[in-house]
């Protein structure tokens, strides 16, 4: 697989969260990722997209989530963006402790990817979550 990007754009609704998982699994299965690493990538893309579904758009307004995948020989770059409310950045350091009621998404992403960068969209609108994961599997 080469360097060009694959993009998926879907309405910010929970019922569609399976789509980015299917896409990620379909794209990476020929790259050298282990099953564990594939599971990590599916988790990362789901958490980032679920945040866009939950936080980006006011109830009833709606909007799209865009997922962009850039596979290369030894890594996958994943970008999840929305055109919603945006986040307050930079993130608090140290991050607030996760609780059963929330705050687990970003820490989970951080735990499973090699690189995470969060920014606001152009014009300050929306959120862009950039993730990179290298394949360590010796396949």
């Amino acid at each position: 697989m080469g360097d060009a990007a694959i993009r998926l754009c879907f309405p910010a609704r929970a019922e569609y969260l399976v789509l980015p998982r299917l896409l990620v699994a379909g794209v990476v299965r020929k790259l050298g990722f282990s099953p564990q690493e594939v599971a990590d990538l599916e988790l990362a893309v789901t958490e980032a997209c679920a945040n866009a579904v939950r936080h980006a758009y006011a109830d009833g307004v709606g909007g799209d989530v865009e997922v962009s995948l850039r596979p290369s020989a030894d890594r996958l770059e994943l970008v999840v963006s929305d055109a919603g409310a945006g986040m307050t950045l930079p993130l608090p350091d140290p991050p607030p402790a996760p609780s059963p009621d929330g705050g687990m998404g970003l820490p989970l992403i951080r735990a499973v990817v090699d690189d995470l960068a969060i920014g606001n969209g152009s014009g300050g609108c929306g959120t862009i979550v950039r993730m990179t994961k290298r394949s360590h599997a010796d396949v």
Binding site: A14, E15, L17, V18, R21, L22, A25, G26, V28, R29, S34, P35, Q36, V38, A39, D40, E42, L43, T46, E47, A50, V53, R54, P98, P100, D101, G102, M104, G105, P107, L108, A111, V112
Partner: protein, 135 residues
């Protein structure tokens, strides 16, 4: 890793429709088996099924994730909330045989909070013993 139909489990493609199956091996114990993906879309159904099990008298819960194909932070949140609410004399155990699902408990360190078993039998054997259910 291949199943009998020759499918690769690597990149498990979320083919199983989400559903829940509840079992009552003992009067005080409910087992909820999860099939398919637990995410923001399905976590509420899992929540409701656990609420119903407790309302129905279960003081111990086993969530069997053997056939779960994905669990995200929403799923973890549901499990954490139920564990916290449960009568402390009861037990809350997870069945997680598959490495890909165990992974999310490891990276969240929740494997230190949830007792995790490799089979339903192990989970049931480890719970505080109530009277067997003849019903």
């Amino acid at each position: 890793m291949r199943d009998s139909a020759g499918r690769d489990h690597a990149g498990a493609l979320h083919e199983t429709e989400f559903r829940l199956e509840e079992d009552r091996p003992r009067d005080d114990t409910a087992v909820v088996a999860v099939f398919g993906d637990v995410d923001l879309h399905s976590a509420e159904a899992l929540d409701e099924s656990l609420v119903a099990a407790v309302a129905g008298g279960a003081t111990s819960l086993v969530v069997d994730l053997s056939s779960a194909t994905f669990v995200d932070s929403q799923g973890l949140g549901v499990l954490l909330r139920h564990r916290r609410r449960l009568d402390p004399r009861g037990g809350f155990r997870l069945v997680v045989p598959r490495a890909e699902i165990r992974r999310v408990f490891e990276v969240s360190s929740l494997d230190q909070i949830f007792p995790i078993d490799a089979s339903r039998e192990d989970a049931l054997a480890s719970l505080p013993q109530g009277p067997p259910n003849d019903g």
